[in-house]
Symmetry: C2
Subunit: 267 residues, 2 copies
């Protein structure tokens, strides 16, 4: 398998560069990509240090690396572009057409989205605290303010989905397990009835659930394939009866699931 070094450079965290870079690189099979990160490259001195590393990589590997960058400061960006590398500058490619379209100059300032003052940031932290406080049915203190309430059997993927929705989209998400008592009573947990309009379900294949539960409690009744089959079938029957839209987590990534929930919610 051939290998190639990808250098992520940013005067911010570099997370945007790496996220988009991963999307781009996933399009190339059979190459092993080694990630090298230079976040907070916010001075010409740091840019020169980065250039030195890029030159070292090229010499050691006998092949120039690919540089993927998001750089607010145009002067530092120009310096990085002097590297012997394929330089892809994500901001440079799009800021100019946006300036024309929006009829104003960009601020080109470093770290604009940072700082605790930021309203969006505060909202995100509040959403995550909400998700943690309302995980696994531990609290119903503030269900009326939830944007989404997820139900599903234990280990069907509720917690990661809730945390992702809170961190990525600042949504307040609670989750409730569906447990054998609910199936015997043949009704949803009563606290959830007032919130039917924001209730969604998760389900999972019994075989996958069995594998996941077995990692935690090997050879337990809880993890047995038979019990997993029973719980999944009972949960799906209950969701169908209560007209709850549900999603199968078996072969979906968290990101897909999160976006499909956003769509179902009409956002």
């Amino acid at each position: 398998m051939s290998a190639r070094t990808i250098v992520f450079v940013s005067d911010g965290t570099g997370i945007t560069a790496e996220t988009l870079g991963n999307g781009l690189l996933s399009q190339f099979d059979g190459i092993e990509f080694r990630h090298v990160r230079f976040p907070f490259t916010d001075s010409l001195a740091k840019a020169d240090d980065c250039l030195q590393h890029i030159a070292d990589i090229a010499r050691q590997e006998g092949q120039r690396p690919v540089v993927i960058m998001t750089m607010m400061d145009e002067q530092i960006a120009r310096r990085i572009r002097t590297a012997d590398a394929l330089s892809l500058d994500l901001f440079d490619a799009f800021i100019m057409p946006l300036e024309q379209e929006l009829g104003q100059k960009s601020t080109h300032s470093v770290g604009r989205t940072h700082g605790q003052e930021n309203r969006e940031y505060t909202k995100r932290i509040a959403a995550m605290n909400f998700a943690l406080a309302h995980d696994d049915g531990v609290s119903d203190t503030d269900l009326k303010n939830a944007d989404i309430i997820l139900v599903g059997v234990s280990r069907s993927g509720k917690t990661p989905t809730c945390l992702y929705l809170s961190l990525q989209f600042s949504l307040k998400v609670a989750n409730y397990p569906l447990i054998p008592e609910d199936f015997e009573r043949d009704d949803l947990p009563s606290k959830l009835h007032p919130y039917r309009n924001k209730l969604f379900g998760l389900t999972i294949s019994p075989e996958q659930l069995h594998r996941i539960r077995n990692e935690r409690r090997q050879n337990s009744k809880y993890a047995s394939l038979e019990n997993c089959r029973y719980e999944v079938a009972a949960a799906e029957r209950m969701m169908r009866k209560n007209d709850i839209q549900w999603f199968d987590t078996t072969s979906r990534s968290i990101e897909e699931l999160a976006v499909q929930l956003m769509q179902a919610l009409g956002r």
Copy 2:
């Protein structure tokens, strides 16, 4: 304040488009951006539906929207580009130079990074479960396998930082609170001594800590400014004494903090 609609289109989740889009838009002050999302636009029929919405937006607002897209399928991308809008195609701009540089064609396949089979995905979920299991000192069952252990006073930002590191970088992160008993004993929790090489601290300004704690337990001793001053000073003294590198969360975003921790760890 002027307003402008931004349409995010993708044949995947659209999360990459929106993440980079947010970085770009943060460069333009004084414009209110309304986000409209079209994820999973993976057929020409869906593209046509999206085009119809774009035309409606332009008519209603008397101004064409900006389209930011990541589209694996070139045929669907071409269809979207016929919209009366400024279209920024993040993949289109970079895939071609990458193909030349890497000497191979991209796969242009939809959803390549999805699916539970994905090794990276499994690692990420395991990391998140680790963070949840080792939150706030509740468990020390697997500290030896942690990549990072964070310490800090209650509400200094440990939990969000741990969850972010797990979701974004698949790192296994545990956190331990520093509590008055530790200060009286004048020593770190004893379980942490073997792991000094992966121990990092978080601190926060007493004023900010007071505000945060007061939201939870108003007028308590716990939340009082005097107690916050005492705890922060004691925690910083202990971290200094034990030579633990620490970060101030007062005016840092989670992303910044996470990347700085990665740097401190030498990744």
